[in-house]
């Protein structure tokens, strides 16, 4: 019942947020210097005023701004994201093609980072003050402090160029494969970019897992659990883990929302055909509809991730939403 309440309270808020974001994106992008009509005209080599005017008209750019905004919102409601000026295709289709690659990359990286990072953080907390703690914490700090593109390049140099065991870029080999072989091929290509991205996310979860566990280990109910005769392992599994995972879940929720945007650099380094690079290109080309479409899809992700996080925290912590 608590979850139904949470959902019912979330829904109107989420819709409001999406409308606000849609409007904000729309106006922000028009504040940026540059005119899509002249960019398009410039690329075809023609630059006379009549041609530019025609382009304006055909894309509705000659209408007053508020009317354009209203049209945009109305289209959003039916999930019509418009047509890309440059590619002359439906924005929804273009995004739909690119999303799987990005989601595959970022979610794999995030899941790995959360699991390994949190476990290492907990281990560091259990051995707080010993050499294990120092090594884990220092490694996490190092990963966090190193620029992502540099780690990417270094890994390429090490594992592709020198060792020659992993492909340096792309999502598939030059010779197309089918069936199971294609899956293996994609996984093979996935290793390097995932490693690069995961190392970056990982540090946050080490820190979070460690500090939360240290805090929980000092709480009185942990002493109560020991006094019941539980072994350290049982204390950790039955009483500490669930309590210390709450901040991790909250943080993961925040990062899931950013999954689409977080991979621009890694996608560039590894020529990964994802949405991050698409956004970058669209921005350079003043492809308004495409940029707005990508922004909108990202904001849906954020809002959804918020809901999921909220529900997850509620299922872990019975106090939330019931005080």
């Amino acid at each position: 019942m608590r979850f139904v309440y949470a959902f019912a309270a979330w829904l109107p808020r989420a819709l409001l947020v999406l409308v606000a974001i849609g409007l904000l994106n729309f106006f922000l992008i028009r504040l940026a210097p540059g005119d899509p009509a002249s960019v398009l005209a410039g690329e075809t080599g023609a630059s006379d005023a009549r041609y530019i005017e025609e382009i304006r008209k055909s894309y509705g750019l000659d209408q007053p701004l508020w009317l354009q905004a209203a049209t945009y919102l109305r289209n959003l409601a039916t999930f019509d994201l418009g047509v890309s000026y440059r590619m002359q295709r439906d924005v929804a289709d273009i995004i739909g093609e690119r999303i799987p690659a990005t989601l595959l990359l970022t979610s794999t990286a995030l899941v790995l980072a959360i699991i390994i990072g949190t476990l290492l953080g907990i281990q560091a907390a259990r051995r707080a003050g010993t050499w294990q703690d120092t090594v884990i914490s220092a490694f996490a700090m190092l990963c966090y402090a190193t620029p992502v593109f540099w780690v990417g390049l270094l890994l390429v140099l090490l594992l592709s160029v020198h060792a020659g065991i992993l492909p340096p870029f792309g999502m598939s080999g030059l010779i197309p494969k089918s069936g199971f072989a294609a899956v293996l091929d994609a996984l093979h290509h996935l290793v390097l970019p995932v490693m690069t991205l995961a190392l970056f996310y990982f540090a946050v979860y080490v820190r979070l897992g460690r500090s939360a566990t240290v805090e929980v280990l000092g709480r009185d109910f942990v002493r109560s659990a020991r006094a019941k005769g539980l072994s350290e392992r049982q204390v950790l599994r039955r009483h500490v883990l669930r309590n210390s995972v709450i901040p991790v879940v909250t943080m993961a929720g925040l990062q899931v929302g950013q999954l689409l945007g977080g991979a621009v650099i890694v996608e560039s380094v590894f020529a990964w055909p994802g949405i991050g690079r698409l956004a970058f290109d669209a921005l350079m080309q003043r492809d308004y509809n495409l940029i707005l479409g990508i922004f909108f899809v990202s904001s849906i992700m954020v809002v959804l991730a918020n809901l999921i996080t909220d529900l997850a925290v509620r299922s872990i912590d019975p106090r939330v939403g019931r005080s």
Binding site: Y5, A8, A9, G129, R219, D220, F221, R223, S224, A225, R226, A227, K228, G229, L230, S231, Q234, R238, H239, R242, N243, I316, D317, P318, R319, G321, S323
Partner: protein
């Protein structure tokens, strides 16, 4: 053979501490079915001794440096961790001080009680045993309680759950570490009675740690007094309470305020006067659930005469702290009239100049001396801040800070130090100096001594009385401890669920309480009945 025999136990502190051993050569024993009270102030090593029995020392940096702990004949210091686990919760049950944090907030009550049965392979029906234990500790409707979460229970109920858990496996020894000091006085009395009944009934030995000689008088067969890690006195209850050999024991006994009040001093003109104060809090609701309204003050009237002390007595949730906040204009009242140091407050909006006057003239000393001082601010700056903010000249303020520190019996050099360099009692002195710096006419002490050891408590109370006499202060003493109220106050108001149920001269109320709640409060006070301490 004794059930538990501790021989020459020594627990080493990390190097560089103020002493080498946290527990130094302690020997004592507990027989089957008897109650041993271990008494001492904070830092005396009593809790560490108890933790050491089953290898539960709180920090890796503490280790047992010598001695033996024989439980049912075998040395627990030489046991494997497996054997210790069987002991903990199986043969030895534990109840800790703070019931609010001793239960896992994410698990249901039933599961937490049942866990100890599962751990020690209880042969009977687990659910049956859980229900049996919850009713044994007199909790209402155990059937629905097993489904509840800890935060849905009161402090007293949670402590009952802890006791149920500790006794579920029929241990032969129950270690209770200050089990009632975080509880209200009537709840405290009930929990102590419950502990006594259950342990006597099942022949369970009780190792009871306390700092309160009232508790000792009520519970103990034998008493061990500890100071700075050493056992200073050890004997039967009557011997220790009637004819203490050690000066330290006598000091602790003397520090227990008797439940006796002197005649009320003549009161001057009222400095604070309030009539018909009402205040309710609205808890936040949600989309589908309206917020609830909780009445914290219901038609409360009071008056404080110049130079007098008024005690506001009641249990948690009775509204006594809300009253203090309303009188200081820290929060508004819903209705009612008040005359605060000559300013007429109807709580419908006080002019900021009047508000400043009220705040300057009424100063507050808080309960927790560890939380009420900014750790990054030197003592001198903390004390000087109020007068400086009022525009007094820095030179004059500086001189006053030194004078005030002297008045609360601290060295003037304290001004350059930080709060963490001081003990709880010293910090409370600093908080008093800070309050006095504003030259207030009224001092409100909100549970100002309840976090302190009994001997420190006595010192602070004496200090406050002296200051009151010298400065002509009027005081309001908000407390749940009737003994403290009796010692300090001329007048008293007793509060229950936001209402004043009784008010009058302290002496009259103590000798002839009119309301049954007041009588219950007086009955619940752990005192030293029928034991006259030879001076």
């Amino acid at each position: 053979m004794s059930l538990l025999r501790i021989e020459d136990l020594r627990i080493a502190l990390p190097k560089g501490g103020d002493r080498a051993f946290a527990v130094d050569g302690v020997s004592l024993h507990v027989d089957q079915g008897e109650t041993l009270c271990v008494v001492g102030e904070s830092g005396s090593g009593k809790s560490l001794t108890a933790s050491a029995i089953v290898g539960l020392l709180p920090s890796r940096s503490l280790r047992v440096a010598g001695g033996r702990i024989l439980f049912e004949g075998s040395d627990t210091l030489r046991m494997s961790s497996r054997e210790l686990q069987d002991l903990r919760g199986g043969r030895v049950g534990f109840v800790f001080q703070d019931p609010l944090s001793s239960l896992n907030p994410l698990e249901r009550i039933g599961k937490q009680v049942e866990e100890v049965l599962r751990q020690h392979r209880w042969t009977g029906d687990h659910r049956q045993r859980v229900l049996e234990m919850l009713s044994a500790v007199q909790l209402p409707s155990p059937e629905s309680l097993v489904e509840a979460y800890p935060w849905q229970l009161s402090g007293g109920q949670r402590q009952r759950v802890m006791i149920a858990t500790a006794l579920a496996t029929r241990p032969s020894l129950l270690v209770a570490d200050e089990p009632t000091s975080a509880l209200d006085v009537t709840t405290q009395a009930q929990i102590l009675e419950l502990l006594r009944d259950l342990t006597k009934q099942h022949g369970i030995a009780l190792f009871l740690i306390t700092h309160d000689f009232g508790v000792v008088a009520r519970m103990a067969d034998r008493v061990a007094v500890m100071k700075s890690g050493k056992l200073v006195e050890y004997g039967t209850r009557d011997a220790v309470l009637r004819t203490p050999r050690e000066a330290y024991t006598r000091k602790l006994l003397d520090a227990v305020p008797p439940l006796r009040a002197g005649p009320a001093r003549p009161a001057g003109e009222p400095v604070l006067k309030a009539t018909g104060l009402t205040k309710s809090w609205v808890t936040r609701g949600s989309l589908f659930r309206p917020g609830r309204t909780v009445a914290a003050l219901k038609n409360v009237s009071m008056s404080l005469g110049h130079g007098n002390t008024l005690a506001v007595v009641g249990e948690s949730g009775s509204g006594k702290s809300t009253l203090a906040r309303v009188l200081m204009c820290l929060t508004g009242a819903d209705s009612g009239q008040a005359d605060l140091v000559g300013i007429n407050a109807n709580y419908l909006g006080l002019r900021s100049r009047d508000l400043a006057t009220v705040r300057r003239n009424i100063q507050l000393v808080f309960q927790d001396p560890y939380a009420s001082l900014n750790p990054r601010r030197r003592i001198g700056a903390a004390v000087a801040q109020g007068p400086l903010a009022q525009g007094e000249k820095p030179g004059a303020v500086h001189a006053r800070v030194a004078e005030l520190l002297g008045k609360v019996q601290l060295d003037p050099s304290a001004a350059d130090r930080y709060p963490n360099e001081f003990s709880g009692g010293q910090r409370q002195r600093i908080a008093i100096a800070r309050a006095l710096a504003m030259r207030p006419r009224v001092l409100i002490a909100d549970e100002a001594v309840s976090a302190l050891d009994v001997s420190v408590q006595a010192e602070i109370l004496t200090l406050l009385k002296d200051i009151q006499r010298d400065e002509g202060l009027s005081m309001i003493f908000v407390t749940h401890d009737l003994r403290v109220a009796a010692r300090m106050a001329d007048q008293v108001i007793v509060m229950q669920s936001g209402c004043v149920v009784e008010q009058g001269a302290m002496q009259d109320v103590l000798t002839a309480p009119q309301h049954h709640y007041t009588a219950a409060l007086i009955d619940a006070v752990p005192s030293l009945p029928s034991i006259s301490v030879q001076q």
